[in-house]
């Protein structure tokens, strides 16, 4: 495990210039009580840095209040951040005048969660899609019309059928396609999707995700894809950033984050997802975190996750962890990060259990470890691939709860 201290996570092969680079971004809001008296400061985004490279998709995941949307709004300058630098295509957006910022935003577009909320209900689809062309280009009416038809076609809506409709006459998925057509109208370099598929049905979600993929490969777009669910982000992201209470808990290549999460918070998010394998039909029951997320008005000292963290020790309350590089391009901010299951041994398991004083029995990380109770809901059914090695009753869940090891089958 390499522990090179840096504050700017960069991907393994940092060859090209990033199109977006965010440095030490801080966004705070003052809450006011009766009479406008300052009541507190919401630490919405605290010292977040990352780079985004051309053609890359960065997924940003976290709970409500983790600052993902605030971060997006700060990047496009809707709310100017308190401090920090946002560099887009080599220009510092924070230093721009309002007018120049407006011009720069031509290349950054956003798609929001609620398509109906972001489309003017009185406008026709063709007017909605044409609006950015009006403000940012010198296209004539005819040219604009052609461009709108082309865009609608690109997002999978038949222009003859849909161009004259109003948002009310569209389904949720269709309305989101219109919002996407509007977002790509100006050939942006970057599209920020803020929970863009969260309010859609699962079948429509899949269609829209596929559309995002198609547009990425056809138009060479970069995405910042914000979601609260690690599962949806997986399919679309090259890299994933996990935010917790305004800070980056972990950032790294998507495959790495899912295979070997280092931050206990990432692990908890993964464990909370109710899974269902489409091939076997076997469900994975969530393992919930205990406790409530702390308030961003009054974040805990040291590590902000420590109040809910199964691995927290005294050090976590005293010293704020910094982002540490574990694998090339894979950073996590944790004093007691989880180990890579690939380099995992029985000894390290024993050691980690002893260190927290847990009396949990040790399961041999056997290749044939059975699907534990937490994974297989049909506990009564004898496991056909059950190994001969004796297994302590219900150990996987117990171990999972201590946060020390991944459950049995994760060791595979």
């Amino acid at each position: 495990m390499t522990t090179i201290e840096t504050t700017r996570p960069q991907p393994a092969s940092a060859v090209p210039e990033p199109i977006l680079s965010v440095e030490n971004l801080v966004q705070e809001f003052v809450t006011r009580g009766p009479g406008g008296v300052k009541a507190g400061v919401v630490h919405a985004v605290s010292d977040v840095s990352f780079d985004l490279f051309p053609g890359e998709t960065l997924g940003i995941v976290g709970e409500t209040g983790s600052g993902k949307s605030t971060l997006a709004r700060a990047i496009i300058g809707v709310d100017r951040p308190k401090s920090g630098v946002v560099r887009f295509l080599g220009r510092d957006l924070m230093g721009l005048s309002k007018r120049d910022l407006k011009r720069a935003r031509k290349d950054i577009q956003m798609v929001y969660q609620d398509p109906f909320g972001s489309l003017n209900p009185r406008w026709r689809v063709e007017d909605v899609v044409a609006e950015p062309l009006l403000g940012h280009t010198t296209m004539g009416r005819h040219e604009r019309r052609e461009r709108v038809r082309e865009l609608l076609d690109l997002v999978g809506l038949n222009p003859d059928t849909y161009a004259r409709r109003r948002p009310m006459e569209l389904s949720g998925g269709q309305a989101q396609r219109v919002a996407i057509a509007r977002a790509i109208a100006l050939n942006p370099a970057l599209v920020i999707c803020d929970e863009a598929i969260s309010s859609l049905d699962v079948l429509i979600q899949a269609q829209v995700l596929n559309l995002f993929e198609k547009l990425r490969s056809e138009l060479g777009l970069s995405y910042v894809f914000i979601a609260h669910d690690l599962a949806t982000v997986k399919q679309i992201s090259d890299r994933v950033a996990v935010m917790h209470l305004g800070q980056l808990a972990e950032i790294g290549p998507a495959e790495e984050i899912y295979r070997a999460p280092r931050h206990p918070y990432t692990k908890a998010l993964l464990d909370s997802i109710p899974g269902l394998d489409p091939e076997t039909g076997i469900a994975k029951r969530p393992v919930p975190l205990t406790g409530e997320p702390p308030s961003p008005l009054n974040p805990p000292s040291g590590c902000r996750f420590r109040t809910r963290c199964p691995r927290a020790q005294e050090l976590c309350a005293e010293v704020e962890p910094r982002l540490v590089e574990h694998e090339p391009g894979h950073f996590a901010s944790c004093h007691f990060p989880l180990e890579d299951p690939a380099t995992f041994s029985v000894d390290s398991l024993r050691g980690s259990i002893r260190s927290t004083g847990s009396a949990a029995p040790v399961v041999a990380p056997d290749e044939d470890a059975p699907g534990p109770a937490g994974v297989d809901i049909d506990a009564d059914e004898p496991s056909p691939e059950a190994p001969d090695v004796p297994v302590a009753p219900d150990p996987p869940l117990l171990l999972g709860q201590t946060g020390e090891v991944r459950r049995g089958t994760d060791l595979l």
């Binding site: 997986k234 909370s272 039909g281 049909d378």
Partner: protein, 358 residues
């Protein structure tokens, strides 16, 4: 997660633990709900039948507009006057369909109660949560104020709200979404109902909070023996927490079985499509998800054949003409399809069986 994918396929479950000995609590038979809107009749629920047994969880899953919410709201008399409800829904010996508003008010909250998607909008923002729970308790019992307040704190403890005595005096805006949903559950359980309906109760919550609330509901069910109907569009959630799953499409059940039976032996192409569309933790970045095109049918002009036929890649001519009935084709496994996915015939259209059609 990767562990699921690497696990070898399990043998087909044939013996279903159907447990007919469990007492039926709610028996719904041939439920129809129709809305009249601007001269059009919208058939939101078309002949839904199921039996909810004591201490069990039934998940009703489907897309928006499949009629899952409408079907449970019909049971509680929560539909607008434009709705017509036909069929039968027996809660014990009491017929819920056609019940007067007055009689329904005694049932609602008492024998059958409901938690909704948005706890912020279900709670009164101007009342402390303690008072709201006390109000629910006193509506359904003759406890005095003091006893009701004690019971309210007890309920808050039951739903594991941190610092219940202090929270009693707090207002909804002072609580997080998860805590508000706990309060909603406390109110729903105030009169110890036989049936609890959770209508997308965790959809608006974070995935971490969702897991907490679902574990709480499962635990409360174990302790109180409540029967739960959970309405959801999340197949993973249904598979993790429900004993039985009913898949709805265009207002009708298209597949219905014990959870394990259903997800391990999916027969109906629609259920298959839903499963295929779930984003998995195992999917490779930038891969395309399998999707089906088209839209759910117009509920005002339902086709005469199978409602899923226009979107189904296995559909043949007879699917468009004849509606497949929901039959128990295998023990405990009901589905409505002429060309189900049967073992051994994966992805190959089943030859048309003339007899089955006629």
């Amino acid at each position: 997660m990767t562990d699921l994918a690497t696990e070898t396929r399990r043998p087909e479950t044939t013996a279903v633990s159907y447990e007919p000995e469990r007492q039926p609590v709610l028996t719904v038979r041939d439920l129809h709900v129709t809305f009249s809107r601007g001269g059009r009749r919208i058939h939101a629920v078309n002949g839904l039948s199921y039996t909810l047994r004591a201490g069990r969880t039934l998940a009703i899953i489907g897309e928006s507009g499949s009629g899952k919410s409408v079907s449970v709201r019909a049971l509680m008399g929560l539909l607008p006057p434009s709705a017509t409800v036909r069929g039968s829904a027996l809660l014990g010996d009491t017929e819920l369909v056609g019940m007067s508003d007055r009689a329904m008010r005694r049932i609602r909250g008492n024998d059958i109660s409901m938690i909704f998607q948005d706890p912020a909008r279900s709670l009164n923002p101007t009342m402390s949560i303690g008072l709201q729970i006390t109000e629910a308790i006193r509506t359904h019992s003759d406890l005095d104020k003091k006893a009701a307040a004690d019971r309210a704190v007890e309920l808050l403890k039951l739903v594991r709200l941190p610092a219940p005595e202090r929270r009693y005096h707090e207002y909804p805006h002072q609580l997080s979404g998860g805590m508000r949903q706990r309060v909603m559950i406390a109110i729903a359980l105030a009169a110890d109902p036989k049936v609890l309906i959770a209508d997308e109760a965790t959809t608006a919550l974070d995935v971490t909070t969702q897991a907490q609330i679902m574990e709480l509901l499962a635990d409360l069910q174990d302790r109180l023996g409540t029967s739960v109907i959970m309405i959801s569009h999340d197949l993973g959630l249904a598979a993790s927490y429900a004993h039985e799953v009913l898949v709805m499409y265009a207002g009708q059940a298209v597949e219905h079985a014990e959870t394990n039976t259903l997800f391990r032996n999916v027969r109906m192409p629609y259920t298959k499509a839903l499963l295929g569309a779930i984003p998995q933790l195992t999917t490779v970045p930038h891969s395309q998800l399998t999707v089906i095109g088209g839209h759910p049918p117009d509920l005002a002009a339902l086709p005469s054949g199978c409602p899923f036929a226009p979107r189904c890649n296995r559909a043949t001519e007879n699917c468009r003409l004849d509606k497949p009935p929901l039959d128990e084709h295998e023990p405990g496994h009901l589905y409505a399809c002429w060309h189900p996915y049967l073992p051994g015939s994966e992805d190959e259209p089943v030859p048309v069986d003339e007899e089955a059609v006629s």
